[in-house]
């Protein structure tokens, strides 16, 4: 049997190109970021198109997964409902007191932050990052740094903005660092992702005690995120407590992007930045 041709020089050339791209990615070269955004913009129409006929299949998959999960949830939800009714009455009472105190102190209320809702088109599937691609970009006036909410809590922030798509860095990503308050004492900490399901609390002040169930919210320190966005609750205490997120990052379908300009970087377009560095410039 004759040996089949495997493309002559094509295979070695492509292997070299793959390794070169991998090395440039490791060095975080500027051209890689530009190429990534350009390819994502180019592929996004195909992705939007292919999502339409696959929608019933995706919906069925989600429904099946939820069915398995919800089998033993009825009793737990009943118990939670009873507890929440108690909390509802208490929250209404506190809201009334807050309104009265605010009127006495003439305190300025937080301004509502406008937002836009976007659909998740693709999610990361590898050992390298925890991210998602959404179908909103410069056309929707998004900027890098805007916070993204999903359902009950913070999901991440906009990392890269393209023409019609953007990349979110999720709070579980290994590069994610968010200043937070923990518990009713508002202990300061930094929530650090590690590519796992539950990010960790770091830089807790010495002597601060964190208990399981303590709420974790954004502190607003540094201005990247507005203060008070819910993130999750402490799941396990210890030296580096783990935080169970309120947002279900495994089932991201829609996210709300807050137009929080204090944290957004108003950078010039990527092409201008690459052009300013000149060809062959390092990262």
């Amino acid at each position: 049997m004759s040996r089949p041709q495997s493309g002559g020089m094509l295979v070695p050339v492509l292997l070299f190109a793959s390794v070169a791209l991998l090395v440039l990615s490791r060095l975080d070269h500027g051209y890689i970021a530009g190429a990534r955004v350009a390819i994502a913009d180019g592929v996004s129409p195909l992705l939007r198109t292919i999502m339409i006929p696959l929608e019933p299949l995706r919906t069925a998959g989600w429904a099946a997964a939820r069915m398995f999960e919800q089998a033993g949830d009825v009793e737990r939800l009943n118990n939670e409902n009873q507890q929440l009714k108690g909390w509802e009455a208490r929250a209404k009472d506190l809201e009334r007191q807050l309104t009265e105190l605010g009127a006495v102190a003439k305190a300025a209320r937080d301004v509502d932050i406008p937002f836009v809702t976007a659909r998740v088109m693709a999610t990361s599937a590898g050992p390298f990052a925890r991210s998602a691609m959404i179908n909103a970009g410069e056309g929707e006036a998004l900027k890098a740094g805007y916070p993204a909410l999903a359902g009950n809590g913070l999901a991440g922030r906009v990392a890269v903005v393209g023409q019609g798509v953007s990349r979110l860095m999720l709070v579980t990503d290994a590069d994610s660092r968010i200043p937070v308050f923990v518990g009713v004492s508002a202990a300061r900490a930094v929530l650090a992702g590690d590519n796992g399901a539950t990010p960790r609390l770091t830089f807790l002040a010495p002597g601060v005690t964190v208990n399981a169930g303590d709420e974790v919210t954004t502190s607003g320190i540094g201005g990247l995120f507005p203060r008070g966005l819910r993130i999750g609750a402490v799941a396990t205490a210890g030296e580096r407590p783990a935080v169970a997120l309120h947002a279900d990052l495994d089932r991201l379908e829609y996210v709300s992007i807050l137009f929080h300009d204090a944290g957004a970087s108003d950078l010039p377009p990527l092409e201008d930045r690459l052009g300013a560095r000149g060809p062959g410039a390092g990262p």
Binding site: M1, R3, P4, Q5, S6, G7, L10, V11, L14, L15, A17, S18, V19, A20, L21, L22, V23, L24, S25, R26, I32, A35, R36, I39, A40, V43, L46, L47, I50, M51, L54, R58, G61, W62, A65, V120, M121, A122, T123, S124, A125, G126, P127, F128, A129, R130, S131, A132, M133, R167, T172, N195, A197, L249, D250, R251, L252, E253
Partner: protein, 170 residues
């Protein structure tokens, strides 16, 4: 060779690559199996009809997965190209029967998953968690019969066992 002979393998590989990055609601660790599914198509075509699958197809499919999953550019093209090369080598040792083909694919996949783990560890300069890779190996190996069945239905000229021809005059 007709254009459709090359189009079908490219479309099948590309479709599996795009499906690998769509949000399916799977847990983050479980999602890692998805980029390995195009390996089934790459192995199927390169081990049976290597002349119909250009090496550019696995490269572009890997690039699309890298971009859409925000991984480092070059990782999945490298893995898919190695899969392509192993498939072409497997063509020299044709397996007869579905079970033998499955066993052959499982062997290739094991080598590929170990290579993927090594590349990920080298990229991070740290030992990567092996569990998502092990999970990906098992699920991909178990998925092979179903995906190969669909690919065989799409195959314009599936490989037949060598003894199904009668030779006159011997």
């Amino acid at each position: 060779m007709r254009a459709s002979d090359q189009l079908v393998p490219a479309l099948a590989t590309g479709t599996l690559a795009v499906l690998a990055v769509l949000p399916w609601g799977l847990p983050a660790d479980g999602r890692f199996v998805l980029p390995f599914l195009p390996v089934v198509a790459i192995h199927y075509w390169s081990s049976r009809h290597p002349e119909r699958l250009s090496a550019a197809v696995p490269f572009v499919a890997g690039l699309v997965v890298d971009v859409l999953s925000n991984g480092p550019l070059g990782y999945w093209p490298l893995i898919y190209l190695v899969s392509y090369m192993l498939g072409v080598e497997a063509h020299r040792f044709p397996a007869s029967g579905p079970a033998a083909r499955w066993a052959q694919f499982t062997g290739v996949l094991l080598a590929l998953v170990i290579a993927a783990w090594c590349v990920a560890s080298l990229y991070h300069f740290a030992i990567s968690d092996w569990r998502p890779f092990a999970w990906a190996f098992w699920v991909t190996a178990l998925s092979y019969p179903a995906i190969a069945f669909v690919l065989r239905a799409l195959d314009p000229a599936p490989v037949r066992p060598a003894n199904d021809r009668l030779v006159r005059g011997v």
